[in-house]
């Protein structure tokens, strides 16, 4: 009965909250508006927005030496997670059946193992860094920890559900993933989408000054 709830109404509810919630966040953000910059531009703001959106994927040389651990762990986690989300065989099936109607070639089993290992160790080290570094320890709030733990548990149950045929774990994974969808629009997980306008605004504002931000 729980399985039916999770695969039925709760799935639609959580998906709905996710879509509406994310849209709501973007709409309210845009509605605040920005004042037009009346200064005379030296270079293109649009080019700056695009440039900064791409350049911030790599740390600047001047600071890279100080942030090696979070950068390495961060990339292991994010790349592993995206690989799992988009190319794990059960996900491809799920997306095909429930969202897009079409699928694509999933990754082979060994790649799945590698991606999940990378994601787990990345997230673990990232969270330990958060707790052990005095700066992140001061900054971090409940939201940051809940997001980390929730993602970890979703990934864990996902891996366990993949390997064995007990349906209970698959349902648990789906349930936790739906909780994650519910949590997403109201948490720092929104950075996954908000980073684009964030980098864009800064890139535009500094880019028009001729600065490669």
């Amino acid at each position: 009965m729980f399985a039916e709830f999770v695969e039925g109404p709760f799935w639609y509810f959580s998906l709905g909250v996710f879509v509406v919630g994310v849209a709501w966040r973007f709409i309210t953000m845009l509605r605040f508006g920005t004042r037009r910059d009346l200064s005379v531009a030296r270079a293109s703001a649009a080019v700056g927005a695009l440039r900064t959106n791409l350049s911030r994927f790599l740390p600047r040389r001047e600071v890279a030496g100080r942030i090696r651990v979070p950068v390495v762990a961060g990339y292991l986690f994010h790349l592993g997670l995206f690989a799992l989300l988009l190319f794990a065989a059960p996900h491809v099936e799920f997306i095909k059946n429930h969202i897009t109607g079409f699928g694509w070639t999933p990754m082979p089993h060994w790649a799945f193992i590698l991606a999940s290992e990378a994601a787990f160790i990345g997230l673990l080290v990232l969270w330990l860094h958060r707790v052990l570094n005095p700066v992140t320890r001061l900054l971090s709030r409940a939201d940051d920890h809940i997001a980390a733990i929730l993602v970890f548990v979703v990934m864990l149950t996902g891996c366990l559900a993949l390997f064995q045929s007990f349906d209970g774990l698959r349902v648990t994974h789906l349930f936790l993933a739906e909780l994650l969808l519910l949590y997403f629009p109201f948490s720092s997980l929104m950075h996954a989408l908000m980073f684009v306008p964030s980098r864009g605004y800064t890139g535009a504002s500094l880019g028009r000054r001729g600065i490669h931000a």
């Binding site: 009346l38 740390p59 940051d144 864009g200 800064t202």
Partner: protein, 427 residues
């Protein structure tokens, strides 16, 4: 809650815009910004983490505009801002931040933290929680026309001395001149040779320029303290002076924040485009060099480096011009590690050098510049900001008179030393 605090909160609320919301929604508290900020790296105190300085704005946004914040408030246990928070954050925001923007360059999600710190200052200032030294400086700027209390008489006396030294008349209030030059009080008082240098260069390059007796101050204490009304007032004086003299350009002198203010922020502060173009002195000198109007002979063999003033390079966009100029007159030029747009701030800009109680902190964070200096072991440091120069002087003095004496030179003055004056006149 006091009326002052309410005023502060209401001002802080007005600071919200789409940029701020996108920034606060993207921050995951990764702490990378701290590693770029000299106030953190040199003290090890996590409270100087750039995004932490923005906490009052974040808490306002969280409490009044987010789901969890509004839910918590509805049930009576939100973490709403209190007046004590304003009091606590004053030191972090004013003493511990120059708005140099180095943090904004490294944030992985592209947050312009310096932009938000400027906004936090508006809220704190409106509530009265800004350092007394800055308040007095702002008052002097409004009443006297200079945060240091430099009067027109002082300027005229200084100009007079410079005229005698360089042998060139400097005409004030010349209507129809192309360029109106502003000065920072720090320059007038500390490095008046700047005035003589530009007089000689402009004579040799045939640049028509003038100074306004109505208003000459380049720095904007309104921006430093975070009071847009004062900032606008001071900008309007520049606009009036420029309009009265019908100039085409206003020159921003050797001062960092003055440049970003007049070049990039001013039209937005007064709400309309400026009726003139703004050019930094270094931009103008480089233009003259390109046009062949600025000629030099000889050079210094000093082993020297260039300290990029943050608001000229990183926030202003003027990075290559000083290097072109240095190429002309200083062949033995070596860059510091982390230079150009990613230089380390001197720690004195944005009003910090005005705050007496921040002296110890400023001295401590200057250590990063000392380290950069020791790495390359130069004889001189060239810079293009009088405030940076003062901060460098204070910093080097604090780190031991037994150190080898490092000379501090203004870039315009250095170029003027090797200026070819006679040839250019005969064209």
């Amino acid at each position: 809650m006091s009326e002052r605090f309410e005023q502060g909160m209401s001002t802080l609320r007005k600071q919200m815009d789409a940029r701020v919301v996108s920034y606060l929604s993207s921050c995951v508290n990764c702490g990378v910004c701290a590693e770029a900020c000299l106030f953190y790296t040199e003290t090890g105190d996590p409270r100087y983490t750039p995004i932490y300085k923005v906490e009052p704005l974040r808490r306002l946004w969280h409490g009044e505009y987010t789901f969890w914040g509004k839910l918590a408030s509805a049930f009576g246990f939100g973490s709403t801002l209190t007046e004590q928070d304003f009091a606590d954050w004053e030191e972090l925001v004013y003493d511990g931040c120059t708005m140099c923007g180095r943090c904004s360059m490294v944030c992985p999600v592209g947050i312009d933290i310096a932009y938000m710190i400027r906004k936090v200052k508006e809220g704190l200032a409106a509530a009265g929680y800004s350092p007394d030294d800055l308040k007095s400086a702002a008052q002097r700027a409004v009443e006297i026309g200079s945060p240091m209390g430099v009067t027109l008489a002082t300027l005229q006396a200084t100009i007079s001395v410079q005229e005698k030294e360089c042998g060139i008349p400097i005409t004030m209030d010349r209507e129809g001149a192309d360029y109106l030059c502003l000065f920072s009080s720090g320059e007038i008082v500390g490095f008046p040779e700047f005035i003589g240098s530009i007089a000689r260069i402009f004579k040799a390059a045939d640049v028509s320029w003038t100074i306004s007796s109505d208003y000459f101050e380049a720095t904007n204490t309104g921006v430093q303290i975070g009071n847009s009304a004062v900032a606008a007032q001071l900008i309007e004086r520049i606009v009036s002076a420029a309009e009265k003299l019908k100039v085409k350009y206003v020159i921003s002198p050797e001062c960092g924040h003055a440049y970003t203010t007049i070049r990039w922020d001013a039209p937005n502060i007064i709400g309309r485009p400026l009726p003139f173009d703004v050019v930094h002195i270094l931009e103008l000198l480089d233009q003259l060099r390109r046009e062949g109007r600025l000629k030099t002979r000889g050079s210094t063999d000093m082993h020297l480096t260039y300290h990029d003033p943050c608001n000229i390079s990183r926030r202003g966009g003027v990075v290559r011009e000083p290097r072109h100029l240095l190429d002309m007159v200083a062949p033995n030029f070596e860059e510091m590690s982390d230079h150009g747009a990613m230089n380390w701030c001197c720690g004195g800009g944005g009003g910090v050098s005005t705050i007496e109680r921040a002296r110890d902190l400023r001295t401590r964070v200057f250590n990063v510049k000392k380290r950069q200096l020791d790495e390359i072991g130069v004889e001189a440091v060239v810079t293009a900001c009088s405030n940076c120069r003062h901060t460098w002087e204070d910093g080097l003095e604090a780190y031991g008179p037994e150190e080898d004496v490092v000379e501090l030179i203004g870039l315009t003055e250095l170029v003027a030393r090797y200026l070819v004056e006679d040839e250019s006149r005969a064209r």
